[in-house]
Amino acid sequence: MKVNIRLFAVARELAGRDSIALDVSPGTTIGQLRARLAAEIPDLAPVLPHVLFAVGSEYARDDQPISDGSQIACIPPVSGG
């Protein structure tokens, strides 16, 4: 199934792109996606252990399974305010 992952801030700059679409098998979790992203974009590997992921507009845990067509975001530690 297809998922789209948006990248922000240092993740966007390290990847040189603002999103990536991946084909993943049904039942894939956020934690597995984290590992998969490191393999797909090696430049992202150093920061991936420190980022959170969001599905839609909600933070997601690593054990959360991803649905087909999920809009996922890779959220490095925030620094707004």
Binding site: F8, A54, S57, P76, P77, S79, G80, G81
Partner: protein, 145 residues
């Protein structure tokens, strides 16, 4: 009121938004871009956000603050894009019948905003380098061209 804007923050409009004859106290917090951080001199900043989620989280903060304190008015405005030194990046304003809850709610809102709202800042230093601020993360710096 929740706003994510690129124009300078109109603090007067923010204050008018929360003012009310039912309120005896207004607390406004402004976060402004500081010249020195960790001994390094900042020339300007760039803020990036995940807009849909940032708006959603800011609205959740307002709703939670309204559950915790008797807020009459509440406004959270964050500016994104390029900011010069001394400009306000964020405004949080609340009005309440009595002042203690205005101070508590204002501080809780800005503290929690800084923890959960997906907005990021990049410091552009006077030495020409720049780098994203990601607390807890060693971030590679980019030399300006």
């Amino acid at each position: 009121m929740i706003e994510l804007i690129t124009a300078p923050i109109d603090t007067d409009a923010v204050l008018r938004r929360v003012a009310s004859p039912e309120a005896g106290a207004i607390v406004l917090f402004l976060g402004t871009t500081r010249r020195f951080s960790d001994g390094r001199e900042t020339a300007s900043l760039d803020y990036e956000c995940f807009a849909e989620m940032a708006r959603g989280k800011m609205a959740e903060l307002e709703a939670e603050a309204r559950r915790r304190w008797p807020l009459v008015g509440c406004a959270i405005v964050h500016r994104v894009g390029h900011l010069e030194l001394g400009e306000a990046s964020v405004a949080v304003a609340v009005s309440t019948p009595h002042r203690q809850s205005a101070f508590e709610a204002g501080q809780w809102l800005i503290d929690t905003l800084k923890e959960v709202v997906p907005i990021w800042k990049k410091e552009n230093w006077t030495d020409g380098a720049s780098g994203w601020v990601h607390p807890g993360l060693e971030v590679p710096q980019t030399k300006a061209i």
